[in-house]
Amino acid sequence: MARVKIQMQSVSVWYGAQPALRQVSLDVAEGAVLALIGPSGCGKSTLLRVINRLVERTPEAKIQGRIWIDGEDILRPEMDLVRLRKRVGMIFQRPISFPFSIFDNVAYGPRLHGLKDAFELRRVVELSLKQAALWDEVRGKLRRPASGLSGGQQQRLALARALAVNPQVILMDEPTSALDPGSAARIEELVVKLKGQYTVVMVTHNLQQAARVSDFTGYLQAGRLIELGETSVIFTAPRDRRTEAYLTGQID
C-alpha cells in the first residue's frame, strides 16, 4: 500500500446551522484516484472544497475535525492558504477560462507565485498544455482569447492552468458533466494518465466514469461517508445496503 497523502479525521462542516458533512474520516493513498459518488446534496462538493479550504468562502461555514496532507495539519488556523492551494489544484464543473489569452490563462498561477521570467513562463505554459493534451491544438495560437476554445478544450485548459502551479493533489468537481461524451472521454483519459504522478479526488455523478477511472470509491449520503473501498469491490460487492441501493438506482 502506498503512502497516505490525505488523511481526514472526523471532519464535519456546517453552513450556519445546516450540517453538510458529518464526521467524515478517510485516507487517500498517494498517486491514487478517489471517486466520490452519492445523491445530489450529499456533501461531495463540500468534502472536496474542505481539502483546499475553499469552503471557507461560503458565509457562515464552520469546519471541525482534522485534515493532514503529507502529515501537515492543514485546518490549523495559522496554515498558509496560498501554500496549501499551490499544492492542491482544482477543476470545476463548468469549464472556466478567464477572459484573457490562452497563454495568460495558463500563466495565471505561476505569475501569482512570482514567476516573471518570460522564457521560464513559456516553458511552464508549454509543459502544462502538453500534460493536459491541449498543446497540439493551440500551439501558435497562444495569444488568442481562451473563450474561442470549445467547452472540452476549455476544460483541458483549466487542467493545464491547475497543473502549471505544480500541485500534488488535484480536486475535480464533476469535471465532465458539462461536456459532450467525446470531450468527457478525453478528460477521463487524462485522469488515468495523471494517476501515479498526482493524487486525484474527483466528484462525479457518472457511475461508469467512477468505475472506469478511479482506484477507490467513496459513497456519501446526507453528509456521511457510508462506505469507502477499492472501486472494483464497491461496484461489485458493496457491504452497505445503502450503497447498493444507490448503485442500483434506487436512490437519487
Binding site: 496560498v82 499551490k86 478567464f98 477572459p99 495565471y108 498561477g109 507565485h113 482569447p145 491547475a162
Partner: protein, 292 residues
C-alpha cells in the same frame, strides 16, 4: 385560431404600435434638436469663422467678440480634474462595496450612494460654496472660486454614480472565476488586481464614460463655484468659465432672435460633438479590447 390567441395577437400589435410611435418620437425630437443647433451654428460660423471662434479667447458678447477657446479649455480641465479625483475613490468604493464589505455595511453603503446620486446638482454647488470655496481660500490659494473648486465639487457629484456602476461591473465577475483564482493560490489582493479588475474592465470603462458624460455636461454645480472669468486664463486655482456655464450666463444676453444668438448654438454643438466623439471612440476601444 381561438379567441384567446386572437386577443393575444391584437394586444401584441397594439404594443408594437406603442413602441414604434415612442421610438419614432425620440428620433424626431433628437433630430429636431440637432437640426436647430446645426443651423444656428452654421449661420454663426459662416459669419465669424470657425478657426477664429474656436482658437481665440476674447469674449465680449455685446461688442460682438465671440471666441470660445477658453471655455473649451476650461471645460476640459474641470472635467479632467473631476475624473482624476473620482476615479481612484470610485474604484475603491466599488471594490469595498462589492467584495470586502459585510452584508450590513454593503446595504448601508448602497443606500448612501443611491441617495447621493439623487441629490440635485444645485445642492452640490451649495456645498461647494459653503465648504470648498472657503477651504481653498483658507489655504491661501486665491479667492476660492476657480477650476479646482469646480473639479472638486464635480468629483463629489459624479462619485456616487460612478461607484454604483463600477460596483455592478465588478459584481458581474462570476463567483466561479473568483474560486478558480483563489484555488490557484491567489490572495485577496492578487485576486482583485489580476482577475477582477481586468475581467470587469469593459464595465468599468462604461461606468467611467457615463460619469464623464455627466461631468462634461454639468452646469449648475460648476457655475456656482467657478467664478466666471471669460477672457483670460488665471491658472488652475483662478476663476474660469466652461461651455455649459457660459451658455447659462449669456442666455439672457443673447436671447433667441438676437443677432449673435448663434454662438450659443455653436457652443452647444461643440459640447454635443465633444461628448459624442469622446464616448464613441473610447467606447469602441473598450469593445475591441473587452471580453472576447
Amino acid at each position: 385560431m381561438n379567441i384567446q390567441e386572437a386577443s393575444r395577437r391584437r394586444s401584441e400589435r397594439v404594443w408594437m404600435g406603442v413602441v414604434a410611435v415612442a421610438s419614432g418620437l425620440v428620433f424626431t425630437v433628437l433630430g429636431f434638436l440637432v437640426a436647430v443647433l446645426v443651423m444656428g451654428a452654421i449661420g454663426f460660423a459662416a459669419q465669424h469663422g470657425l478657426v477664429h471662434t474656436l482658437l481665440g479667447a476674447r469674449w465680449q458678447p455685446l461688442a460682438g467678440r465671440l471666441q470660445i477657446g477658453l471655455f473649451i479649455v476650461d471645460s476640459a480641465l474641470v472635467t479632467a480634474l473631476a475624473m482624476l479625483l473620482a476615479l481612484p475613490f470610485g474604484i475603491a468604493v466599488a471594490i469595498f462595496g462589492s467584495l470586502v464589505a459585510g452584508a450590513w455595511e454593503r446595504t448601508v453603503l448602497r443606500w448612501i450612494l443611491t441617495l447621493a446620486s439623487a441629490v440635485p446638482s444645485v445642492a452640490y454647488g451649495w456645498w461647494g460654496l459653503a465648504v470648498v470655496v472657503p477651504g481653498i481660500r483658507g489655504l491661501g490659494l486665491g479667492a476660492g472660486y476657480g477650476l479646482v473648486s469646480a473639479g472638486l465639487v464635480l468629483a463629489l457629484m459624479i462619485l456616487p454614480t460612478f461607484s454604483v456602476l463600477a460596483w455592478e461591473a465588478i459584481l458581474a465577475v462570476p463567483e466561479d472565476w473568483h474560486q478558480t483564482s483563489l484555488a490557484l493560490g491567489a490572495n485577496d489582493d492578487q485576486n482583485i488586481i489580476r482577475l477582477v479588475l481586468p475581467a470587469s474592465m469593459a464595465g468599468l470603462q462604461t461606468a467611467f464614460l457615463t460619469a464623464l458624460a455627466r461631468a462634461v455636461g454639468e452646469t449648475m454645480a460648476v457655475q456656482m463655484v467657478l467664478g466666471g472669468a471669460v477672457s483670460h486664463f488665471y491658472g488652475l486655482f483662478g476663476p474660469g468659465a466652461t461651455l455649459t456655464t457660459q451658455i447659462l450666463t449669456d442666455m439672457a444676453v443673447l436671447p433667441v432672435g438676437s443677432p449673435n444668438h448663434g454662438v450659443l448654438d455653436f457652443m452647444a454643438l461643440v459640447l454635443f460633438l465633444g461628448v459624442t466623439l469622446m464616448t464613441g471612440t473610447m467606447g469602441r476601444q473598450v469593445r475591441g479590447r473587452g471580453r472576447p
